[in-house]
């Protein structure tokens, strides 16, 4: 299955892109995506091991199972206001 990955702010700069697609085997959870990204080399090796993630625009635990077409957003510490 494929998921969409979004990066914002500092994480966007680490990734060098705002958006990518990733192919996962079924049964994968959010933390599998984190592991893959950190192992991929480049700026994303410095992604925290437990980043805040939103799936389909809701904050979720890293243990959340993923489905095909899910949007997985990496949320650096927020600083609105």
């Amino acid at each position: 299955m494929e998921v969409d990955i979004l990066f914002f702010a500092l994480y966007r700069e680490l990734a060098g892109t705002a958006r990518m697609r990733m192919t996962l085997s079924s049964g994968c959870v959010v933390s599998d995506v984190v592991t893959r990204l950190k192992a991929g080399g480049g700026g994303l090796t410095s992604l925290p091991s437990q980043p805040v993630v939103a799936v389909n625009r809701e904050y979720v635990p890293l243990s959340t199972p993923l489905s095909s077409g899910d949007e997985v957003a990496f949320i650096p510490p927020v600083s609105g206001g």
Partner: protein, 162 residues
């Protein structure tokens, strides 16, 4: 699937709040007009404004980045929660994104209520929560040409860790 957004729950007595993430200048009077109610005696408008100094550095402006598609529902859900906690309160809020200059408002929260105590409490709560969870980031731009992403807060998953 686990992350499918749940449908909004409206209580029949309180109208849906108003939330917007926008790149247009914020208009406080227009927002107050949206939440006004003839039986409400108190209106409170909070404006967060770009300051000329931060941590000893001269600020030229702030570039706000937002995850718009998520920030708007997160903000709406915060406002709805405030209306639930302070029955009778009506709330609205807007957050701006893009490049803002010193003196421009980046966020505004408007609350109206029958009496003023709830208005102050609800407004303050909304601002505190919004800073904790709204997916918005600020990059401060300094007069010396440098810039940096400001340290922020880590939103807590509303489902808790396993």
């Amino acid at each position: 699937m686990s992350a499918t957004p749940s449908p909004p729950v409206e209580s029949p007595s309180s109208p849906p709040p108003f939330a917007r993430i926008t790149d247009a200048p914020l208009d406080g009077e227009a927002l107050l007009a949206r939440i006004a109610h003839p039986s409400h005696g108190a209106q409170l408008l909070f404006l967060g404004v770009v300051r000329d100094m931060n941590e000893g550095k001269e600020v030229e402006g702030i570039r706000y980045e937002a995850f718009r598609e998520m920030a708007e529902p997160v903000l709406l859900s915060l406002l709805r929660s405030a209306q639930d906690q302070w029955p009778g309160v009506r709330a609205g809020a807007e957050h701006r994104f893009g490049h803002l200059h010193v003196g421009e408002a980046s966020v505004m929260v408007a609350v109206s209520s029958p009496h003023r105590a709830e208005a102050y409490e609800a407004s303050r709560w909304i601002m505190d929560e919004l800073k904790q969870s709204l997916p918005v980031w600020k990059e401060e731009l300094y007069r010396d040409g440098e810039s940096q992403w400001l340290k922020g807060n880590s939103p807590v998953s509303n489902r808790g860790e396993e």
